[in-house]
């Protein structure tokens, strides 16, 4: 049974434009859902609708098999982490975390013990008696997190809960959330701007744009088989290269489409390889650790290539870029929808074939 079902949700704020357009989602019990999308696309609005803080003029929200449109937030058994934290300024960290338990009549002793245990895992131990006003941004964010974690709800809504943390802490909290998910078996709906977060955490990712749900699928499917050009462009770092098919030498797929080439599926050569290749030169080379991100000016326009650091000798002149036809994506020029390309051979064989040709 699905934990939460959204059925053709429409939302318009009074006096504003329509913010959500017929969004439908089936979220299974215990699933980790990540919602991504550009700023202002309606992610927070969607969470608030599920929470019951906002009502929609059309569509149905079903929680645990029951229509929940008219259910008050208090009755939905959902914990939420707000994008702007919304901590109680007059309460200590301990009381902020324990407030939900207190409202549920958990005995004081147990409540305090639980609040303190949660604070420990969030490294908030030293700040239990402080008020939010005396905490740093990252600490406040963790208190907001702890407030939701202290209650064992069946569903957690998290609106960019890690956005204000430094890198180390973010990675740590990511693990923490994953553990939480495993331990509680809770359903988590998580909004983020961070692609790594989305790809590493999610069972399924929902990609939203301008109030439309563009695709709702596993991270692999979203990355390898994006529904539209927009989804392909949104996910992936460095971003996908998009170019007209006719600019691509050796393209054998349908003509008159837009081809998407992920930077890591391109190969860069210091000397002209056999077979079709795009000639160009490197204008910028970024060292990102294990991988070199090369920005190239080519006959086919600007291309970004992610290559191993050994790919190019230092001070190389002109370069040639080849692509793996098996991994190229193809999009309809007008609608942006992805077209299944006939070339779907395993990568290694195609590569080899290319070189031979």
């Amino acid at each position: 049974m699905s934990a939460i079902t959204l059925d053709r949700i429409r939302k318009t704020y009074p006096g504003g434009p329509q913010v959500l357009h017929d969004v439908s989602m089936d979220i299974r019990d215990g699933e980790f859902i990540v919602i991504v999308g550009p700023s202002g696309c309606g992610k927070s609005t969607l969470l608030r609708l599920i929470a019951g803080l906002e009502s929609c003029e059309q569509g149905e929200i079903i929680i645990a098999g029951r229509r929940a449109n008219e259910l008050a937030p208090q009755d939905r058994d959902i914990a939420m982490i707000f994008q702007n934290y919304a901590l109680y300024p007059h309460m200590s960290v301990r009381d902020n975390i324990g407030f939900g338990l207190e409202l549920r009549r958990v005995p004081k002793r147990e409540r305090i013990a639980r609040a303190e245990a949660v604070a420990q895992t969030l490294q908030l131990g030293p700040y239990l008696d402080r008020k939010p006003g005396a905490l740093s941004g990252g600490q406040r964010q963790r208190v907001a997190m702890g407030r939701a974690m202290a209650r064992d709800s069946s569903t957690f809504l998290m609106d960019e809960p890690l956005s204000n943390l430094d890198n180390a802490l973010r990675v740590e909290m990511r693990t923490e959330i994953k553990d939480l998910h495993r331990q509680l078996g809770a359903t988590i709906i998580f909004v983020t701007h961070d692609q790594t977060e989305a790809l590493t955490l999610a069972d399924r990712i929902a990609v939203m744009m301008d109030g439309h749900l563009l695709q709702f699928d596993t991270p692999e499917a979203i990355y390898d088989r994006p529904a539209t050009q927009a989804v392909a462009a949104f996910l992936g770092q460095p971003p996908i290269n998009l170019l007209p098919a006719m600019d691509l030498p050796g393209w054998q797929g349908p003509s008159g489409c837009v081809v998407g080439l992920r930077p890591e599926t391109l190969t860069v050569h210091a000397s002209r390889p056999a077979g079709p290749a795009i000639a160009g030169r490197v204008t910028l080379s970024e060292m990102t650790g294990a991988v070199l991100v090369l920005h190239c000016d080519t006959d086919a326009g600007r291309l970004v290539v992610a290559a191993p650091r050994s790919a190019l000798p230092p001070g190389a002149g002109p370069v040639w870029i080849t692509h793996d036809p098996g991994k190229a994506l193809c999009f309809d020029q007008t609608t942006g929808a992805r077209i299944e390309t006939p070339v779907r051979a395993p990568a290694s064989r195609v590569q080899a074939a290319n070189v031979i040709a």
């Binding site: 929470a51 934290y85 109680y88 300024p89 939010p132």
Partner: protein, 269 residues
């Protein structure tokens, strides 16, 4: 900079003394005998206070004032806070109209409602009672208006967080809004209390029984009853005045430190 501050401080002190001087003078006079007051000399005594309380029942008036002002403040503040919360946070049918009406009451001078209030209380037989003194004062449009503005300034996200934590609206009001709005509520309470404490016209109109007199009425009567040999017994009147102002002053000093800073700091990003 430092020198400038010192001058300002001196100026403020001078102004303060100027404002306080009548009160200080009356307190000083209240400890003098009639003789030393009229003929000079210094002869401190508590006799005036003893007479005000023993002979003229000022203890009773004080109790009445405390009861009436206390009830007006407590009930009035509670009603105003709840109305303010409703106005600030909920859309309900007629809400805007009711709020407009609340604000409109600020334009009506109290003297206009004096006689209608008197007549309606007379009809239900509540003149000459505590209820008669308290009832007309508990609906306080200004307090509701003022607190609504303040509550509107508290981020709604805090209400929402509390809802997600499982709170009902009344718990949100009591556990989140009221503690955060405490400085405003306390200020308003002080304001209401002092206003009622100093209220003269309504108790004068509504009460004829001496055991229901408030301090203000007692004070006025004392002044009228004691012309002495053509002269007022000022030390006695001043002792009564001192009894009238001291509780308010004490109350103010007690809650003064709560009146300052607001505390929404740190709630949001």
């Amino acid at each position: 900079m430092a020198r400038e501050n010192r001058w300002l401080a001196a100026l403020a002190l001078l102004g303060g003394l100027l404002f306080l001087s009548p009160a200080l003078y009356s307190i000083a006079v209240s400890f003098q005998t009639a003789q030393s007051y009229y003929q000079g000399g210094f002869d401190p005594t508590l006799d005036n206070f003893i007479r005000a309380i023993g002979q003229y029942d000022f203890a009773r008036y004080l109790l009445n004032s405390v009861i009436v002002s206390g009830l007006v403040t407590l009930i009035g503040l509670s009603l105003a806070t709840m109305a303010a919360y409703a106005f600030a946070r909920f859309d309900f049918p007629g809400g805007n109209l009711m709020f407009a009406a609340t604000v409109a009451t600020l334009m009506i001078p109290s003297h206009i409602t004096l006689i209608p209030n008197y007549l309606s209380l007379a009809r239900v037989g509540l003149l000459d009672s505590y209820a008669g003194l308290v009832l007309p004062a508990i609906s306080n449009g200004f307090a509701a208006f003022f607190l609504r503005q303040y509550i509107k300034g508290i981020p709604r996200a805090l209400d929402e967080a509390a809802y997600m934590d499982g709170a009902r609206p009344i718990q949100v009001l009591w556990r989140v809004i009221v503690p955060i709005a405490r400085p405003a509520i306390l200020s308003m309470g002080l304001f209401i209390f002092i206003g009622e404490w100093n209220n003269y016209i309504w108790p004068l109109v509504a009460v004829g029984r001496e055991d229901l007199y408030t301090l203000q009425i007692g004070l006025a009567r004392l002044y009228k009853l004691n012309p002495g040999e053509g002269a007022v017994d000022w030390p006695l009147v001043m002792a009564a005045s001192t009894i009238t102002i001291l509780p308010v002053l004490a109350g103010f000093l007690l809650i003064e430190r709560h009146l300052v800073r607001g505390i929404t700091m740190g709630a949001l990003k």
